[in-house]
């Protein structure tokens, strides 16, 4: 094997909430051009880990290195400009703006025309076109003019994904993108994520509850429990890992069924 090309790594990342270590001494490496899944039961610290990586929360100790730069020193609004996009487990959109405008705002921020106070936004080079393309990609083309708050839950999830895709980041952090979606919509969305990752040579860090999805699509899986990394490896290795099996995989399948 050749030297791994690491796009993001965490070093002893730790975050306390009061006395609780939500993320406890986590050191992981994300290889470029892979789909890396993070699994673990509710409360394992997956969302907190994402919050630490994306700068929403500051770590108690440890750091995050992205392409050689320490991310924990950067404000949240710099992240996307470094090629790092993040979606939320709990839908986090602009509720009174149309689906189109939600995506358009995500696309606009990359284009450097943000302070042209007398400009018509539709004249920003490539911005509208990009937004329409993304809406088509996530299947919201027909609902482009519907305000975010009036979209169905599944469509809001698609919009959330669209807002990540629009700026075309290199690394996508997706926190349970299919959470609460109708079962038949899940494979469609996962296929889309897989396609974006493979075609655009992007890296995806994915938190996902659905074990079938993870086992079929992930290149690498990290298992978390109680804020710590329990195991890491290829899907087959994780499935056969005795510790993960006995301690905990059974539980996950139960969550999946529920």
């Amino acid at each position: 094997m050749t030297q791994k090309d690491i796009i993001l790594e965490t070093h002893n990342l730790t975050r306390y909430f009061g006395g609780l270590a939500a993320v406890d001494d986590v050191s992981i490496q994300i290889e470029r051009n892979t789909l890396h899944a993070i699994i673990g039961p509710n409360g394992a610290g997956k969302t907190t880990l994402f919050n630490l990586i994306s700068g929403v929360l500051k770590p108690t100790s440890g750091n995050v290195v992205y392409k050689g730069q320490d991310l924990t020193k950067l404000p949240v609004h710099r992240m996307i400009h470094m090629g790092l996009g993040r979606s939320f487990q709990i839908t986090n959109i602009f509720p009174n703006l149309s689906a189109f405008e939600n995506v358009r705002l995500a696309a606009q921020s990359m284009r450097g025309d943000n302070f042209k106070i007398l400009r018509d936004p539709s004249k920003i080079e490539g911005c509208d076109d990009r937004s329409w393309d993304v809406l088509k990609q996530v299947g919201l083309f027909e609902k482009a003019m519907v305000p975010g708050r009036f979209l169905s839950h599944g469509d809001q999830r698609k919009l959330e994904l669209g807002m990540i895709l629009a700026p075309d980041p290199e690394l996508l952090l997706l926190d349970e993108p299919t959470a609460g979606m109708a079962g038949e919509e899940v494979p469609e969305l996962i296929d889309l994520i897989r396609a974006v990752q493979a075609q655009g040579s992007k890296t995806v860090l994915l938190v996902e509850h659905n074990m079938n999805v993870v086992m079929e699509n992930a290149d690498v899986i990290t298992v978390m429990n109680h804020g710590k990394v329990l195991a890491e490896g290829k899907p087959a290795e994780i499935a056969n890992n005795q510790e993960v099996q006995t301690a905990y995989l059974g539980g996950l399948y139960e969550i999946d069924v529920a």
């Binding site: 404000p75 949240v76 609004h77 602009f94 009174n96 358009r104 106070i117 018509d120 839950h153």
Partner: protein
Amino acid sequence: MNKNKSFLSRNKGILIFLAVMLVLPFIIGLFEGSNPVAVWNNQGTFSKHLEGIGIEIFILAIFALSYDLLFGVTGMMSFGHTMFFAVAAYTTGIALKSFGLPLWQVLLIIVGTSIVQAFLFSIVLPRVKGVTFTMVTLGMASMFHIIVMSSDMIKWTGADVGLQGVPKPAFIDPTIERLRFYVVALLILVLVYIFYKRFIDSPTGRVCVSIRENESRAKMLGYNTTIFKVVVMLIASFTASIAGVLHTLYQPIVSPTIADLGYTVTGLLIVLIGGIATQSGAIVGAFVIKLLDLALRGIMKDSAPLVTGVVYVIFVLFVPYGIVGSLKLGGFKIKQGWQMLLERFGLKKAMPKEE
């Protein structure tokens, strides 16, 4: 969407408004028996009186527009907005009266004071949000009100009596050149309106709207939201200051009530009655408030403020989107409107948490 529309068609409404308001004094003149030449020479009595009311409405509308940009468009609920207006009004009065400065120098100073104030309000922006921002702005404005009212300042501000005897520049003296003043105030209102419309629909303005909707998400999308809020604060501060200058130039006396919370509330009511974040609502609301105030005052004398207060509250309860907002939506949408108002006042989160 509004692609490739010409300037004329984009601003049709406000240009019709401009034309109507320009001919109105002459038409009213005809009814009182003054021919257009007499009106032109400021000889009509009733037309001159109505021009005066028009000027007051235009000033209120400019003030309300600037306030709406802050809380209606960007979601920054300031309770100290009248400070921008009052500082400009008093600065203009003192500069003209106590220092005898020419108007152009006064205007330069006003540009300076509006920038300084915008930054003063902005210092707290990245750190405080929601109700705290509201309270901090209220505190700053109250401090200015106290300074204006203090008897130590009587030589400059006239304390509780107000600032009297400000010399008016002859070419725009409202008693002699009333029609000219009226046209100037009208043109400023129309220019501010057109600029605001353009700004709010610019890349910058769209980001401001997204800050109102969900600021933390706007940050995640890559916007340094503090800078956008400072830009909006600068524009709003400068606009309110222009209204303040016009106020001092027009009124025979600058009363300290304009530095009071009550004047900010007047701006708020104008926007609520006209329609939040609609811009034209600020103009419609200013007309309603001023004319209703005059009508009720004529009928009821002293109890008028109480009655108008009750009327406004009932109106906002049943027409939460205001006049222009309801017309655009084609209905009152009371329940949805209440949700929107609660969001604007920071009493409810726009995006309810699930699970």
